[in-house]
């Protein structure tokens, strides 16, 4: 349930941003969570409900961009969709690959009252 630590980090980052802009409430929050980032979305949603209670994010509308996993095969240079970390290259079968996207775990933006 590391998703709880992740949500708590988001609350900390977002609160720091809000206080810098003298906002007492966050209306919207946008996150990037890659499909290979190791976040289980069901656990994340559960943790979110609990961890944002009585915080500045309690009533924020949340948008999560799920970034597709993509990798580059280091043997044949094929760029392919990686659903699981153990997926091999669909062209040559090699498992020697470089992940190009899908590991994102990022606070993109906030919408605050002006």
């Amino acid at each position: 349930m590391h998703e709880l630590s992740i949500v708590m980090s988001i609350v900390e980052l977002a609160s720091a941003q809000a206080s810098r802009h003298d906002a007492s409430v966050i209306e919207e929050i946008e996150l990037d969570i890659g499909c290979l980032s190791g976040i289980e979305m069901e656990s994340f949603d559960f943790a979110w409900k609990q961890a944002v209670k009585r915080t500045i994010l309690e009533n924020a509308r949340r948008t999560v961009n799920r970034i597709e996993g993509r990798a580059l095969c280091l043997d044949c240079n094929t760029d392919f969709t990686m659903e699981h970390l153990y997926d091999g290259c669909p062209n040559c079968g090699s498992h020697l690959s470089q992940i190009r996207s899908g590991k994102e775990l990022k606070l993109r933006s906030l919408v605050l009252p002006d």
Partner: protein
């Protein structure tokens, strides 16, 4: 307040990035933050890493499910290599100092971290543990993480090597069931090989799965009980210690 990382009784922030704001609709302001959610942990991990490198301390993060034999591997290693290398250990568990007591009995310096409800160690916990330890230069620091094959994977502690331990009493498909841990590790130890005659574990299949997730992963089979394969682990360890930093 902590003088090193600035943490106090309340939570603390290490954000110094420059954000950009623009109007979206009347009465609203959009702030482009673009911050990595793990950045605080990653910054503290890099700080730990610098500390270790400056003192030529080889920090090893030991991860596994509960019961794979991390503590047994340490007990045997600390006893067998006593006099050859100098060691210190950080033990991570949710509760009790039982593991620290076992390490202490080998005569090795040890600190126990109890995470309470926490399911993994993080760089901040390690930073504070290290502050109280007076670590020797040119030594090996084992950080035994909380027994959990999922959560510790995402948290860099500042280690040089991450060693994942599995045992033959588990399923050989552990590497593909919990790929994140195997993907982020540099060495996989397959422990309890003395039990192979009694269990269905297929070693070759386990290695194949592990290499599918991480083709660069080194794999050592051993038994802390019989001692079989321990020499390979010791060779690996010494090769890492001798590496110039």
């Amino acid at each position: 307040m902590c003088a090193t990382c600035g943490c106090g009784p309340n939570s603390h922030h290490h954000d110094h990035s420059h954000d950009h704001t623009h109007e979206s609709s009347p009465g609203k302001k959009v702030v482009d933050v673009e911050q990595d959610i793990l950045q605080e942990n990653n910054l503290l991990a890099q700080r730990n890493r610098g500390f270790f490198e400056g003192r030529n301390i080889l920090a090893i993060n030991l991860v596994s499910s509960p019961g794979s034999g991390k503590t047994s591997l340490l007990e045997r290693t600390l006893t067998d290599l006593k006099g050859e290398l100098s060691f210190a250990v950080i033990e991570g568990d949710q509760q009790t100092a039982n593991d620290a007591d076992r390490i202490h009995a080998t005569g090795t310096k040890v600190t126990q971290i109890n995470t309470g409800k926490g399911c993994h160690l993080d760089a901040h916990m390690v930073l504070h543990a290290v502050q109280g330890m007076k670590l020797q230069a040119d030594s090996v620091l084992f950080i035994e993480n909380v027994g959990n094959l999922v959560c510790p994977a995402m948290f860099d502690l500042g280690e040089q090597e991450r060693v994942v331990v599995i045992s033959v009493t588990e399923g050989e498909d552990k590497p593909i069931k919990y790929p994140d841990m195997f993907h982020s590790s540099t060495l996989c130890v397959i422990n309890k090989t003395d039990l192979l005659p009694y269990v269905k574990f297929n070693v070759e299949k386990a290695k194949e799965y592990a290499r599918k997730v991480n083709p660069q992963l080194e794999i050592i089979e051993l038994s802390c009980t019989s001692g079989e394969g321990m020499n390979l682990w010791y060779e690996w360890l010494k090769s890492k210690v001798l590496q110039p930093v």
